[in-house]
Symmetry: D2
């Protein structure tokens, strides 16, 4: 591969595609190649992404194999169900990053249950910090990043999944929590819903209001979270998961609780819990356990590829409580994709990715 | 009592006091008497509550027994810990509504643990729709409103408490949920924090961000919720409670989950659960279980004395999930106080209280 | 007319129709009759206006002459251009309130220029506080309300128009400002754009951002403002008008400036200007000039039928600066309609209308 | 100078200081040296700027000459009036960037009138794109950047000033507008007010509301705007200036209008006006005139050092209307400072500065 990496983005007019382009434009090794889309083909990128000043003059091409050919990397920022067909037409040695859900689940049955269509197959899962329990040995904790080096197909995780997994997995891996009764409630920014023109996504409806959606075990991110926690060492995951739309454009604040494991003595739990979380992420460049007493806010992560976490033990309730903040479009989507791309291509994992949030 | 009820409001320059005055000004039987405060005494009410046009010219008096004398009703919208001393100086036959926490808890030990001071004593608790299990008999469900008729001292519940209690109590009363592992996560508007001048309450910090507070079993509303659920019939309540500040001025969206009770057959649970919730509030003027499939938003309740609820059963997780929306300053504070006042004085319970939200 | 006034609302699923219903439901003399709409006919009102709890069970009827027959008042909350045809089918003695633009302009040519269709004709204009210069005589200032008593057709003004007109007309009537170079810039909440499903109206786009629209003299409210200022006594109105969308659901904050009139001595201008504004609204129940030094915010007017105004003289710039806050859906639309209805029917002008804003 | 530039930031716990550190941390040539403050000295930077992950562990030092010694660049992000004394103690060959107002005005009398204290003196003004009329000759337009190369003291402009100046100066330089009656109304994010603990800056007050401040010619940015427009070639500037707080944390949207100059034929004005604006910024890396028909929003500039501008001619009103969007903390403060620093030190002007906004 030449010293410059050419990257094409399919689905360039949406939020995920736009964020991908924002990050790629700042990546020291990347040259942005084709930008493609479906209905907006033939128009200037600046009509859809006017904030991307260096790319505003680019003309959007149709999403075809020809347009996507000749790139080192192709990013698919397409609606769920659309990436399988496009990916099948791309060369095997092109690195393909799928920001959609199509290739995340390993269980075809779970796919059919939650998505109602045939499963497109499973790709290496692009959450570098995911703890891989089966690989654990004397040499320390194995991580999912070990499986991404040299990969040519990567399924990038969903935003809710990233927040919940990173927040809870240290307790899973350390055996400190009981995974059979996890409860997660999330505050979600509106960009997670995409540019869909639906009445409840209008500014007049969203401003000044909070509302839940996909309540009662129906959200498609549930089997993906369970899959991750199993990878981290938890058999028998049961998860109550409720996302809520709150009046912000970006960000996820995930409050996740799980029972203290049976063996955890309540007298010593708080210290052991905190230590497990701190150790799990001590060497991670993007996942930070905050100093004791400081809780994350989504503003702290805005525009950055960070996940900020705090954990507490509620002894009276017998539960561990963790709160994780991410920017849903960065660590939750496009930044995670860049991080996975860096690993797959052998670049420094942090290339082109920042840790300073745009706050206040 | 004359046909016009004279009401004084102590703490008139704060948010709770202001909302009380907004509702009282619209009450057909009420005349607003003295408006009092501490540091703002001597200034025009309009400097602090410029939205209260009909009262803007009123001059705030100091909070003294003399100023509060000669009213049929005195509302105490004071900081926690301050109402006990003021109330002690008021005549026994004056109806005193305490919007603060001082007289809510019946357990002096719980008060000392969570508030760190001596307990001021317990007053009749002003949540009219609270189910009272011990009073249940052949004639139907007993409610807390039965204990408020003729009362001269009423402790008005907290806003988080109201949302969580109303959302969960039907399941408690019907024996459908297990109260030993309740998890509640709330999205809270900023007015719940009062006019405190703290950095994290600044608009520049709050806009576009979500953040938790009082995580890990430390929030003072926890023992009050447990007390209510015990009243509704649940021994052995254990509660994980996490409030989160989100960018709205008003409103609470409470997501509350609890395990299905052991005897609930999962096959029939959803229908039985929904029926229990619908029946519990069928006759309530302010608490509405929404039609199946419709979930509440805080905007729907803005400015109104309503609590809007929906419930679902997540069979895979083995949990009931309820979401409740209220306006924290109305059904969560001042509207609830007016409702309790109406009951205590023998007025129609809905006098001066609206059910139409100011939306969008 | 019977003591109860039956009112039908056509366009009941939109924001203007919903706000009309919110206010009518609280009006002591009104019974809400038919609620009608076009595409949502046959569905429950609660699907579209879930915040209107007392009317949520109502079924929306199609907007037909039959459905609208038999009411004392019919409110047309329809898209611009649609009300003329519906109104033509209603009896002449039914009071028809048009919340749309169709019948506001007296100048058919201006209508054609800004709306591009044939003019439906002109109805009595429903801004009660509008100063009518031609009617001024020894007995004081004439107002538009004098023309509304007994009217059976009323064109309710636009929201931007109401804010700009009320803010500036005292200076026009008193001859203190030069109307030939008025500049108005408005901060507008998103509900003013209706429930239109357009990308720039999405919450993800609106949250955290401000943007202008209809810049450069193209906005359809411009000729209506000029018409009002002419009525108030200003020949030769020239107006630069720029609305900007800001992240709030409701509210208009109109900053309007005009040159001091040539004869205004700058040394004495400030006092005379303030006096003119105070006097102009001294007897108005809904339009308040705030105490000196206090400036309006839109929150102060939320949900209320108030217009709050402050005025200053910038001697260095040679301009009067006024700032006016209204709730665009209340004093800017539905509240104004109720006010006009009250006048037309001989009810107290303030019936069913509040002056206390829902703040904070 | 060594290849790494050491930069100290005084006032590191405030918003301007924090944003300076965010940008410096990403600057390829900069090493962040001392971070100093007053009341927060001795605490970790992460307590005040938790979003700055790479610097969170830094300990804040007191703002003393010793702490600031030994740096190539010192940034003063101090309250107005405080930087003069600190700067006087710094070596003459250290580049000092003052983000405060102290050294911006050349007219000591204007300083005393608007700030009420003694003038600290005037430094080279750090708005690189400012047109300098007196320097104009056959070789094209002179810019303020020419005066910054090699400077060791730079007064960085205010945020409102930057937006208004950039928006209007092309018309001034081309003689197309009449500077004697400029009207500017701004929508401002709350971070522009700093971390001041004032009631009207609370989230509960700001959310869902718009309000003006410093109305009527009193804002301290007025003489600075006039000074800039004089530099760009406009004698006799008169300016009506009204900022309004709207519910966003960052961003300024400046709507600025001025009369078309007497000689401008209205028939040809629109094309000539647009051409003048386009040409004025054709070579500017950070100031972009958007394509015809596209208007700026503040979201497009979030986190970026861009100013986005559109212009229209309102022939009926006889006015040019321009709208400019910036991020008040970047192009309005810290980004502008980095840009000026780059020029002063002979680095590429765009080093460390991005043009892609963080949107949506």
């Amino acid at each position: 591969m030449s010293s410059t990496i050419r990257v094409a983005v399919a689905g360039a007019s949406g939020y995920a595609g736009g964020e991908m382009l924002r990050l790629l434009a700042a990546h020291p090794r990347v040259e942005v190649g084709a930008v493609t889309a479906h209905t907006s083909a033939g128009t200037a990128l600046g009509e859809h992404q006017p904030h991307l000043r260096s790319l505003a003059h680019r003309v959007i091409e149709p999403t075809t194999p020809e347009a996507l050919a000749g790139h080192d990397v192709v990013v698919l920022a397409l609606p769920h169900g659309a990436s399988g067909a496009v990916a099948a037409q791309l060369p095997g040695d092109t690195l393909v990053l799928d920001l959609g859900a199509d290739h995340r689940l390993t269980d075809a049955e779970a796919w059919r249950t939650f998505y109602g269509s045939e499963h497109a197959g499973s790709w290496p899962y692009g959450l570098p910090e995911l703890i891989v329990a089966e690989g654990a040995g004397g040499a320390g904790v194995a991580r999912q990043r070990d499986r991404l080096a040299g990969a040519t197909r990567i399924a990038v995780p969903g935003c809710n999944v990233t927040a919940v997994t990173l927040g809870l997995q240290p307790g899973v891996a350390a055996g400190l929590i009981d995974p059979s009764d996890v409860v997660a409630v999330l505050a979600n920014g509106y960009s997670g819903a995409g540019k869909s023109l639906k009445p409840h996504l209008l500014a007049s409806e969203g401003l000044g209001s909070a509302r839940p959606y996909a309540v009662g075990g129906t959200h498609r991110h549930i089997p993906e979270i369970a899959q991750n926690l199993r990878t981290a060492g938890a058999p028998g995951v049961r998860l109550s998961f409720t996302p809520t739309l709150v009046p912000m454009s970006r960000g996820i604040l995930a409050t996740v609780t799980a029972p203290l494991a049976g063996g955890s003595g309540t007298g010593t739990a708080a210290g052991a819990v905190r230590q497990a979380w701190v150790e799990a992420y001590a060497d991670e460049p993007f996942v930070h356990v905050l100093p004791e007493g400081q809780w994350p806010s989504t503003a702290m992560t805005q525009g950055a590829n960070t996940a900020l976490i705090q954990v507490a033990v509620d002894e009276a309730a017998g539960r561990v409580v963790t709160v994780t903040a991410i920017d849903n479009l960065v660590k939750g989507t496009a930044g995670q994709a860049v991080q996975a791309m860096n690993i797959a291509l052998g670049l420094p994992e942090t290339s082109g990715l920042g840790v300073e949030g745009v706050a206040p």
